[in-house]
Amino acid sequence: MDPKNAGYLACLLTLVLSGCGGGGGSSGSSTATTTSLAASATDVKSGDAVTLTWSSTNANSCMASGAWSGTLATSGSQNQPVSATATYTITCTGAEGSASKSVTVTAWNAPVPTISADVTSILSNNTVTVTWSSQNATSCAGADGLSGTLGLSGSRASAALTTTTTLSVACSNPAFTAVKASVTITVSPTFTATVAIRYQVPGAPVVDQSIHYYVPDWANPVTKPVPFVWVELQNPSGQVVQQVFADASGVATFTGLNPSITYTPVVRSRISQAATGFDFVVLNNTAPVDTTKTSYRARYAAYANPGPAYIPDTRQPVQSMGTLTAGDGWDAAQRLLVDANRAAAPYALLASAVTEAQIVSAAIGGTPTWRPLTILWSTKNKGGLSAPPGNMDQGFVTGSGGYYNGGGHGGVDTTGKETLAAVAEDAEFISGDQSFEVMDLYPFILSHEMGHFTQALFSADQSPGGPHAYTDYEDPTLSWTEGSASGIASLVLQSPKQNRVVPVNGQLIVGVIDPSNYTVSGNPQNWPLGWYQENTVTRLMWQLYDPAGSIRLPAATVLAPLFTAAWQSGPWLATPWAYAVQLARLNPANASAISALADSVNIRTTGSDEWGSSETDTGNRTSPDALPPYVTVNIGAGPVSICSAGVSNEYNKESNIRYFRIPVAAGDNTSHTLTVQGASGTVPAINGYFYTPGSSSISASGTLLAPYTVLAVGACSVALSPYSTDTAACHEPAAPPAEQCWQVSVQ
């Protein structure tokens, strides 16, 4: 038989029994090719290796295919890294044909379970809903605070939780042990709540075309935060359960609150901040709580304004009570400002005080020490009383109120009447009476009074105070003190405009005063322009700062001279000249521009000094009565004639008193005698309070301060006091002449 034919026959037989070589399979005959293939593991971690072991019979060669390749020995083993699920095939071929085997190895990545909860912080006895899912997992089960078999994904409510609990899901696959994912639910028995405190004021004045007046823009109010304000929570019994001061944004945060109690937030008109030392309070002086007390803080209470009762959410551990806004009290339907609804005023005043204190603190640098400030405000407060005593409990005072230096405001008797007993307390009286002036709708007045507070604490105030007007020619210490207080306000408010709300024909209208261009409600004014007018000082300070102006100094730079040691020690007084010259000295790069600007408003600065020695503007006086601002009186020289002017009780107008300086050598501790001789019938007074009743001369002895001692002389009945009952003590034989000249000498 031909071998080929013999083979064909064998093959034919094999096909009958088990299949033929070349078609794969094994032969049942003893010469048939067989093979086996096994993997050391069929489930492995991705990247791990498996050992493939194979063998064959009656094979001459073996070939790898599938996830591996190449010629193989007819038996053996081989390591194969498995990065992904793979099928390994071996085909061995022998004389009788070939046989194949395959094995599949599954590569597993680590299970990746994820779990989340609808909330991760809850109050006690609440459930959360957890949601989980997984990858590469074949099974999942609950763990830690979650129990039971879970699907590969799903969601489920937890049990009611009473303590902080971790909820987990653990998932596994054939190659990996369980991998856990967790979410921790913070469970609190109490909640934290925040509440934001704001106040509402009308928008900037607009012209009401129906009456052709500027009026507050009631239709477009603005709200602003009340920083650092006192907020308390009261329980249903009215007991204060917690009290905090809000942050700089006016947000108060309470902690440890019981979710089963309804709380009423109450805001009180007091602010405090430990970091800055701010301690400002607005008190209702027409509702005394203890009339035996003479200090305002002990006598009067702060305003307290409640918000709506708050029913806590029983699930959320951090809650917002929302925003509480103190309304301005405007009734749009009746077009009336309703006193009973004027909640905003105390908080508007406090917010303005804080803003100013922050800006002044930045100008001073470091952490200046602010004394506590008490602001008296009431819807009944008004001025206009012709002479003291005012009555604080009833809310009426002389002038229109103002700043009472911490060195001593008047005491208060049991009826509220002001007394002469000094009480060390910085205070401001702010009018709220609609028939007088509403000083709380716009921040200018409070800012101006804060300017005086600033002067008293960190600068110098040598002004005689008293009534003053934009039409006046004023003493330079008065023009400086009042003008710079308004100047500070303009920098704080970033506007030179002064909005004053007064009643006309039963309506509240606004006078818009603008010192920067000497206008009122857009109408030019012929106010005096010079060192003798406070508006000029305000105008100068604004124009130095004005972002649209030519010099554009930062506010801190404009304010800097007020806070220097030189400013506080003198020997020159705080006047417009001292300010402009000091500012020029402190800013050499801008000195020429500063001086030129001051010169242009009749505060002579170019080539001058802090004494105003180069001043040429006499205001509304003749030269001998006005200039130089400081007459020099030398020790041992002959008498110097110094002339003052004015009528009885004027005391704070230009030339009512004249300043003189006595040069004193360093180390001069000897006693000197000052003599002032006036004309017959006059009574001279030194510094507005030292005089001999009925005498046209006065002498005094004492040591003098180097390098200069600065004093002032004027007619007693002019310079002594704003009130005639005091000037009567002068015993002046006649009314003072229009011009009073004094012979002044020092020996």
Binding site: N305, D313, L385, Y403, G410, A485, N687, A700, A712
Partner: protein, 158 residues
Amino acid sequence: MSTMLFVQGAMAAATLSFASIGPTAASPATSNSLGAAFVVIAKGTTSTVEITLHPSAPFDTVKVEAGSGVSVLSPPCAFSRVVAGGHYVCRVNVTQDARQASLTLNVVGEKTLDPANPPIIEVSHFTISNDSFVAPAAVKPRTMGPAMTRTPDPATAK
């Protein structure tokens, strides 16, 4: 001979002597062109007040208005076409509201300088204490002021 210590703070001391019964620094100024002066001619439940104007600037109108504490003001007092340097006098009877501790009169001057702008208003105030007023003996308790309105936070509106 009197003795006096010459110290640099002498001026400040003088200021404090004023401050004991009045503010050391008054409120910001306004204009004072009306030159208004007030004299109480007779004082009682109904007081008679004489108001004198020595204006340093002209006004279109000047009118005496009742402020707080006034229950009746008569007769009306008003002037028109007020000229600078003029002299104007009127007397008004003002009946005190017995519940108030004082009354206030306002003298309101008005002038239009430029019709394109609102008029200029100048107000002088005059306050008289009510000597017969007796404050309630009982000290007022601490009371709550007007309520604040609440705007819920959008995230936790309740």
